[in-house]
Structures are given as C-alpha cells and as structure tokens.
C-alpha cells in the first residue's frame, strides 16, 4: 500500500441539492485522471495548465455523453491544500451528477478518500502543523459563528505561533542555564537567580493565560451544557419552550416519557447552549422514576452550569438547593427566580429575575451564563485559543515542569537540576506544534553568545 502514491477523490460539499457541488481530487495522477474525463472548451489539456487556473468545459461519461458542464481548478504541487497535485471540479449541485462523476473518476484510477485523508496528507506533506491539522477538523464541524472563528484562527496558526514564541523564550532561558554549565570558563555574564526566576515566571504567566482560554475553547467547540433544576411547576418547561420559540434551535430531540432528560440546543449571541431539563433528583420508590433520578443526577454532574429555577411566589426550596450543592460544584449554580411578571415586588434573593412567559430578564440570564461559562474576559479573534484537550494537557504539563524548575531555583540547586525540567517544558511545548529539535538550545547559545577561547 503506497499511502501517498495513489490519487484520492471525494465530494467536498455536503450531500444534498445545492447550487453547486465540489469534487476534490489529490495525488500525483489527479490532473491526468481529470484529463481523461474532462473536455475543456479551450481544447487544451489540464496537464499543460499553470497552477491556480480555472477551466470551463464538459465532463464526458463512459458512453461519450456529456454528464455536466463544470469548472475545473488546477493546483500544482506543492502549492495546494494537500501539497500534492490537486484538482477541484465544481459541478451543478445534483447528488446524482456528483456520484456519477465520482464513480467515473474511480474507474480512471482514483480511490475514494478516507475521512480526514486530505488533511492527513496536508500534514504529512508539511503543509499544516499538528495544531493546524486539528483545526481543519474543527472548522468543518463548527456549529456556531464563534466556534468557526476560533477554529479558523487556530488554522491560521495563531496558537502555533504563540506557542512557538513561548517555546523560543523558553529555549532562551534554558540556554542561559546551559551556558553556565558548558561554558563556565568563558568570560560571559551569567544569569542570576532573580533574573532566571523572572524569565521563567513570565512564561508561566503566559501559559496560564493560554490555559484559561481552554474553557472558552471547549465552550466554542462543544457548547455550554446547562442543567435546569427546580421543583415541579416552577416553570422549567415554560422557560425551555420560550427559548426554543424565540431562538433558533439547531437540534431538538424528541421528548420521551417523563423519565427522559429533555435536551434542547439553542444558539444565542454566537454561543451554543445545550439545555437539559431534569426530572427530580430526590430518591423515589418507583423504579421508573428512580431511573429518571439517576439520569438527572448524571446530567447535573456533567453540566458546565446548573440553572436552579425557583418560583418567586413560593421562594427558594432550601433543602433542594443544599442537595444540589452536595451533587456538584456550587460555583456552577445560577439561582434564577421565575414568574416576576406575577409578583414584581418580590423579596426572594436570586442571581437573576426572569419571566419565562414575557421574556423579561432573559438577556440578563444569558449574560450571566456566558460570564460563568467563559469568564468575563472578552475573547477576541486576535487571541490564540486552546480548544483541544491534547493541547491543554501539553500546555499544563509545560507549566508544571516550569514550576518544578522554579522550585529547583529557589532551593539553590545548581543549573543541571533546573535544566531537567526546563527541557521537559520545551518538549511539552514542542508537542503542541509537533516539532522537536534537540539541538535548539545549543544553536541558540552559539547564535547569541560569544563562545570559544
């Protein structure tokens, strides 16, 4: 099996009827294969066409009939998405045309692409680094505007660039430590403990800031999971109904019996919220209800936020609230007082006051939910964003290694101790950008310091 020797093809646009559909072909024979089925109106062969040109003509099927008139874009290696010879054929948006064209192409020697294979080839050919390759998947599966922007900026290499910059700083700090170990005899100024601590702490801070974006990144990718909890008749269903009616619901699952969790996905201000309407959380003798209780509890445990709904006319059920706290993190709970339209002059204390009937206070509710979920710091598209667990783990490891090295510095241990953890941190950062070069530190020393008696 020659992974990169063969030519792959796939329909690049979603299945269904649209204005146009695009079929993408990549691999050494992509242009030659297309030439066998494409008759350009210019009479010229694509093989002679320069890169990044578009050609109009007909696709001719195996009987010599015209299948469709199409536009063909030619990308020559290495200046294509995959880094290989590539062709994109824009057909009219009919699934039948696409299927026929695809089978025509496979007859002529192309192979159907596996999922993610174009991206994998781009990575293998060095067109994308690891973080970017992961971002491609995120761009494709993004379900909200904000999510798309986040993935887009990772694809543009923002995270890679920022991590690379931190890594350079770290290589510099490690060089200062190594310099003293390998070149103690040289007439050089060596870094002192305070200077080194400052350098490392600065990198730790930057890592902290990056790590904080992870929560946000996760929210962008996966949405904010919100469990709605409250006694019967406090207005849980009315709230959900209001949200579904007022805002665009993307997926609405079919509500089952009362023991099922009702799930609604709603996009508000570019953020995806997944609301889970829970049944009771109190123990019950009824087997069916007990199953509902189990599901509710697990929904609460998995939730990013818990929306604790109370009826302003009844006040807060203190014992239910305490049980909720016992189930999870009290920081996740937002106490919402409903039905303020009935009783505006209330004395019940909550985080936010709403009416699921009139919509009063709903905007405040979402502001609070958003702040709780992503923090009050405003994410702008210019910031790098950590959105994959792999990156989060690697960056956390890097931070821990740096904290270890700071311990060694403050314990007055000499450079070779500090170096162990500094190097581990360099490696962890390299994992994010997918490149490891063991000579970096020495090269940096040679470049920046006058070495050599």
């Amino acid at each position: 099996m020659n992974l990169l020797e063969d030519t792959i093809a796939a329909i690049a646009t979603p299945y269904g009827v649209g204005a146009i559909s695009v079929i993408r072909i990549s691999g050494p024979a992509s242009i030659a294969i297309t030439d066998t089925v494409f008759a350009a109106s210019s009479q010229k062969k694509l093989a002679e066409a320069p890169s990044h040109t578009i050609h109009y003509g007909n696709i001719i099927d195996r009987n010599g009939d015209v299948l469709d008139d199409v536009l063909v874009s030619v990308f020559k290696a290495p200046h294509s998405f995959t880094g290989e010879e590539s062709v994109e054929i824009s057909t009219h948006g009919n699934p039948l045309i696409c299927q026929n064209l695809l089978s025509l192409l496979t007859e002529k020697g192309a192979r159907l692409a596996e999922p993610g294979e174009f991206t994998r080839r781009a990575y293998i050919n060095g067109r994308l680094d690891l973080a970017q390759a992961e971002a491609v998947a995120a761009v494709i599966s993004a379900r909200t505007d904000a999510s798309l922007k986040g993935a887009r900026n990772q694809l543009d290499g923002l995270l890679s660039r920022e991590v690379a910059a931190l890594r350079d700083k770290l290589v510099n700090s490690a060089s200062l430590v190594e310099l003293e170990l390998d070149f103690a005899e040289e007439d050089l100024e060596f870094v002192d403990k305070t200077g080194l601590t400052a350098l490392i702490s600065e990198i730790v801070n930057s890592l902290d800031n990056l790590l904080k974006t992870y929560r946000f990144g996760k929210v962008l990718r996966e949405g904010i999971n919100v469990a709605i909890v409250g006694k019967p008749n406090v207005g849980k269903s009315s709230l959900l109904n209001y949200l579904v009616k007022e805002y665009r619901a993307i997926v609405s699952e079919i509500p089952g019996t009362t023991r099922d969790i009702i799930r609604e996905e709603v996009t508000i201000d570019g953020y995806l919220y997944i609301f889970h309407d829970t049944a009771g959380i109190r123990d019950s003798a009824d087997v069916i209800e007990l199953e509902g209780v189990r599901r509710s509890r697990s929904a609460i445990a998995d939730a990013d936020l818990i929306l604790f709904l109370s009826d302003v006319t009844q006040g807060i059920d203190k014992s239910l609230f305490d049980e909720l706290i016992a189930l999870g993190d009290s920081g996740k709970i937002v106490s919402v007082i409903n039905k303020v339209d009935i009783h505006p002059q209330h004395k019940v204390t909550g985080d936010v006051y709403i009416s699921a009937k009139t919509g009063v206070g709903i905007a405040d509710l979402f502001r609070i939910l958003r702040e709780k979920a992503v923090g009050s710091s405003v994410y702008t598209e210019k910031n790098a964003l950590v959105s994959s667990l792999r990156h989060f783990n690697a960056l956390s490891e890097a931070k821990n290694h740096l904290l270890n090295s700071l311990d060694s510095v403050s314990a007055h241990l000499s450079g070779e101790f500090q170096a162990v953890d500094l190097r581990r941190a360099v490696n962890s950062l390299s994992e994010v950008i997918g490149e490891v070069t063991s000579d970096d530190i020495l090269n940096n020393i040679f470049q920046k310091f006058c070495i050599g008696k």
Binding site: A419, V420, R424, N427, D439
Partner: protein, 624 residues
C-alpha cells in the same frame, strides 16, 4: 606487509585504536609519518574540560590510554564547574606538548604486536565491498582485514595565514594526498572543514606582572584510575595567565579584514561556531569591547606560550601588531603566527554506530575524518573503532554504546544520525542523560565492557566489582537507615535547614542541598553496621553514593522525559531496509533515512528532516 588491522594516523584516535586492537591480541600496522609526533597536541596544550573530561574518564574506564598519557604529561590540573553539581564537574589538564608525545610513544611501544611504520598513506585498497589494505607513499602495499582511518586534519590539508597558503596538515608537516580521492572513487562523499590555531609567543618576552594568574587546583586529581594518587602530580606544576583584548586591538585586526582568507572567501571549509577565530568574534559580537585570552604554557622546558582565544588566519604582520597591543605583551616576540587549516572529512552519516563505514566492510573512520573536533572526541572514536575492528575479525559481535551508557554513545549517535557540517564538539547539554553520565560513575558504567574486551585486567576489574558492590550496598543502607528528629534536628538547625518531625532515612535527608552524606554518616556507629565500614573509609564512594541520592528524583524525571520522546530505542531496523520503496514517507524523510540507514526507530526519530508522521509510517511497516 601483512597485518590484522592497519591504523592510519598517529593522533589520539590512532593511538587508542592501535592499543585496543593490540590488547585484543591482533597485529597492528600503525602508519604515522613521524613516530616522534604521536599524539601531538596540534592546538591547545590541554586535555579535558567541560564534557571532554567526561570523555577522558570514559576512555579510561573502557581501558583506553589517554588518561594515563595526560596524567604523566600534565603540568596543571583543575576540576572545572566545582560550584555546580557533580554531573557537570569536569577534569582538565594543561600538558607539556613534548612530554605528551614522548609518553604516547612509550605507551604504544609497550603494547605487543604494534609495528609503527613511518610512512604516509596515499590510498585505501578494496576488494569488492571489503577493504583489503592500503598503499603507502612509497607505493608499497600492506594488507589487512581491517583499516582504521584517523587522518586528522591531514587529508588535503591546506593552511592559511592571510594570502599565504601552505599545503600541510599541521605546522611544518606534509598533507596526506590521495586518500580522499581513493575514497570518493568508491562512492564516499567528502566535505571540507576548517579549524584554526592561535599564535605562539616567546615566554621570555612577556611582562607577567600585568597579567592575572590562574593556578591549578591545590589538590590536583588525575584522570586515570591507574595513576598512583600518592605520587601525584608527577611533573612540576605551572600556572596559566589571563589578558583581554580592547577596542584598539580590534581596530588593528580590522585593518587586516580585507586580506582575511575567511572573509574574502578563500577558505571554503566550515569552521566551528563554538571556537571562532578572533576576527570572527569581533565581527559577530561587535558590541563586545573585550575578549578574554588565556596564555597557556606549552611545556616545562618550552619557551612557547599558546595564546588561547586568539585563533586567527589574518596576515602575520596584523596578528603581530595586534598581539603587541595586548596588556603584558607590548614587547612580545611572536614565534609563529596563528593559521587556519582546511581539511577533508567524510560526513559521518556514512559510518555505522560501530564506526565501520556502511559502504566498505572492514573500513573504519575515527576522529576529525568524521567531522569532529578535539583530542578527546577523536580518542573516544579511535577506541570504539579499534575495538570494533578487532571484534569483527575475532567474530565476537560488535560494540555500540547507547546514549544512556556514555558520552561516547551520545557522540557517535549524534554523528551517525545527524551527521555534521561543522566540526563537532562534545557538550554536556548534548547528553539528555546528563545526570547519569558523570565522571564519578564512569567506571561503574563502563569498566565491565573494557574487561569483556580484554582491555582491563582481571585484577583491575575486581577492584571495580568490589566498588560497585559497596556502592549498591551504601545506596540501600542510606534508604533504610533512619535518623530520629532528636538526633538530626540540631545539625539541620545549625545548617539553616528546616527540622524534621519524624525520623527520616539518610537517603531523604541528604537530598537537601545544604546537607551532605559524610555529616549524616557521622551519626552511624560503624561497630553496629560492619557492612558499611568499607564505604566509610572510601571518600570517593561516599561522594558517588551521595550524588546518586541527590540526583535520584531528577534522574527519574529526566528518564520520563526521555521515555516519552524515545520509546523506540530498542526497535531495530534492518540495515538493508528499503526506504526508497516506501513512497508514503515524506520526500526529505525518505532521502535522509536512506542515507543514514538508522539502526533503530529511536535513531530514525533523531534525524533532522524525519517527521513524526514518517516515524509512524515506519512503525507500521516494521510491525508487518
């Protein structure tokens, strides 16, 4: 003439190769143009230093001879990096250049079956893909089953001072012509490197009162375990002196830039970044107003002073004018100007971890011919090449040290996997296992190899074995013997270390930076623990145990990092693996893998240009 092994070149690599092969019972034809120039210190009159001291200790532990020669010719000994931890402590000596070569000759002649032949070599002779011998400068052929090429800077050596070019590998000595051509005709790729040496000064014309003295250690320690410590140092000891350049000196040197072979492109070879010429330093670090220079004595009876840090290929009159501007050197006589030397090497991806060339069986490369710089790096390779050449002839397998075994393992692995396009020098930072690879445990790490090959005697090995047994006994004792707070707290408080609340083992207490094992052992009554009396009486052993304990946690962390990066060290790749047929590899990765032919997936992953996805693809194919 007929030999088991022919060694070409009498430098540090050649000496080790010849002596090792002889001890392994083989006959050696040792070709060197001048037997009185054996082991000549062409550049610094010094052995060891950071990471290089480690190499000398490792050579000694394997049964090599460099440590002994350095000890017997040493006129100053220092342990560098004393203020840091033991992993980076490094021994360094100044040596008498004349005596070094005399002792080298004596050591070589002490070995049986070595025939020194004072002829140059002009060609390597092969039969098919195996070496069969060499042709000497007089046209005579000598045959051998193995040839170790240690040609130093002599292959097409060309020396530069200003516009003056002189053919030769070293001042006053002829170059070696013909060998490069005979190898390139066999398909080897040759490259060109450059190195340099500073001017030599007359010590009687220097005003020493203006210079800063740098004496040796008060209690000098030898390199070799064979050297009798009770009668050390052997020779009288001398100091080095320090002076500095200044902007005036730099201005004079700049006048010569127009005539510099380095800047005008006359020199094509690549020089080392860590050992630049003085003109390079001035250009590259223009903001530095002064550069430190060391005046090193060339020997007890020698009038020559080596001006370390002032390596140059500028015209001689410019060098002279600049030197005279230096403090203390106003009236100095410059006996010889510095010069740069260009020479041929063979980028070392062409050798295997045994230092045998991949192209020609039985042909080994060691030293500068592999692109390294430094006496110690050369000696280490000479030893490994000599041992391997002998093992192969004897049908006894091969000897390849791992990166976790020794600096020598790091050195050769770096050469083989990364090749090099500048003279390669060892640094401690090249060793990811740095905390493990120390001078103090070199014998524990390596002596058993030397014994297996017959380079270390039974008697010597018994000493190491006993030392090793005591070491492990000491480590386990320190782990189990606990001191209660009442006993230990007074000492801890006195040292400004926080007191303990429950009894703690010695192993834990001695991890504190301000506590040492000797103080802790003072609390142990040897009468109660007779098994450790042998330890208490051996200070070296206590140091080694203490170092082990202090580094323990860090070594573990270091190991985790290494494991994470190199899970594939033991996953072997056959030498005849067909990379070119593996189209899934990246183009660069495929070419690099094909030219390096790594031994293991671990080695493959260190080759620059080989991507993580290449490695995954390789793994897929190897698992089939």
């Amino acid at each position: 003439m007929n030999f088991d092994i022919i060694v070409v070149g009498g430098g540090h690599a050649g000496i080790e190769a010849a002596c090792a092969a002889s001890k392994m019972g083989l006959s050696v034809g040792f070709f060197s143009m001048d037997k009185y120039a054996l082991g000549r210190l062409s550049c610094n009159p010094a052995i060891g230093g950071s990471a290089k001291g480690h190499l000398v200790k490792e050579i000694d532990a394997l049964g090599g001879v460099m440590g002994e020669i350095a000890d017997r010719s040493g006129i100053q000994f220092r342990l560098l990096n004393r203020s840091k931890g033991p992993a980076v402590w490094a021994s360094r000596s100044q040596n008498d250049r004349i005596i070094y070569s005399q002792i080298a000759l004596e050591v070589v002649e002490r070995h049986p079956n070595i025939t020194i032949i004072e002829k140059g070599v002009t060609g390597i002779v092969t039969e098919g893909d195996r070496v069969s011998g060499i042709v000497a400068s007089d046209g005579s052929f000598s045959s051998a089953n193995a040839v170790v090429l240690c040609s130093g800077t002599f292959l097409n050596g060309l020396m530069h001072t200003g516009h003056t070019q002189t053919s030769g590998g070293r001042f006053g000595e002829k170059p070696a012509i013909g060998v490069t051509e005979s190898l390139t005709s066999l398909g080897f790729i040759a490259g060109r490197l450059k190195t340099g040496t500073p001017p030599r000064l007359n010590k009687n014309t220097i005003d020493w009162s203006q210079l800063l003295e740098q004496p040796g250690d008060e209690n000098p320690q030898p390199f070799s375990f064979r050297t009798d410590k009770s009668n050390f140092p052997i020779l009288p000891q001398l100091s080095c002196y320090i002076t500095y350049t200044d902007p005036d000196v730099h201005k004079i040197l700049e006048k010569g830039f127009a005539d510099s072979p380095l800047f005008t492109g006359l020199i094509k070879g690549v020089g080392p970044r860590y050992c630049p010429s003085i003109e390079d330093k001035i250009v590259r670090f223009a903001d530095k107003t002064k550069h430190q220079l060391f005046l090193e004595p060339e020997g007890l009876d020698s009038d020559l002073i080596y001006l370390n840090g002032f390596s140059s290929s500028l015209p001689a009159d410019i060098q002279f004018e600049a030197v005279r501007k230096l403090p203390g050197l106003q009236n100095v006589e410059m006996v010889r100007p510095g010069y740069a030397v260009e020479y041929d090497y063979f980028p070392p991806h062409q050798v295997d971890s045994t230092l045998e060339t991949k192209r020609i069986g039985g042909l080994y490369f060691a030293g500068q011919v592999n692109g390294t710089s430094g006496y110690e790096e050369a000696a280490a390779q000479g030893l490994v090449a000599g041992i391997n050449a002998a093992l192969k002839i004897l049908g006894r397998g091969e000897f390849a040290l791992k990166r976790s075994d020794a600096y020598i393992g790091v050195l050769i692995d770096d050469l083989v996997t990364k090749s090099t396009d500048e003279p390669y020098r060892m640094f401690t930072s090249r060793a990811e296992h740095r905390l493990l690879l120390r001078q103090d445990n070199a014998y524990t790490r390596l002596a058993h190899f030397g014994f297996d090959f017959g380079l270390i005697s039974q008697e010597e090995n018994n000493i190491f074995d006993k030392h090793k047994t005591l070491f492990y006994r000491g480590v386990s004792f320190a782990g189990s013997f606990r001191l209660p707070p009442a006993t230990i707290n007074p000492l801890l408080l006195e040292k400004g270390s926080s007191p303990v609340s429950s009894s703690e083992p010695l192993s834990k207490l001695c991890k504190r930076p301000d506590v040492n094992l000797v103080e802790l052992l003072a609390f142990v009554d040897p009468n109660d623990f007779p098994e450790i009396t042998g330890i208490i009486q051996t200070p070296d052993l206590i140091t080694q145990i203490e170092t082990h304990l202090k580094y323990e946690g860090y070594i573990k962390r270091q190991q985790e990092a290494i494991d994470k990066l190199g899970k594939y060290e033991d996953l072997k790749i056959p030498l005849d693996f067909d990379y070119l047929g593996l189209k899934a590899l990246s183009t660069e990765g495929r070419e690099k893998l094909n030219s390096v032919k790594p031994r293991s997936v671990g080695q493959a992953s260190r080759i620059s240009g080989v991507t993580p996805s290449d490695i995954s693809i390789l793994l897929v194919y190897l698992k089939r």
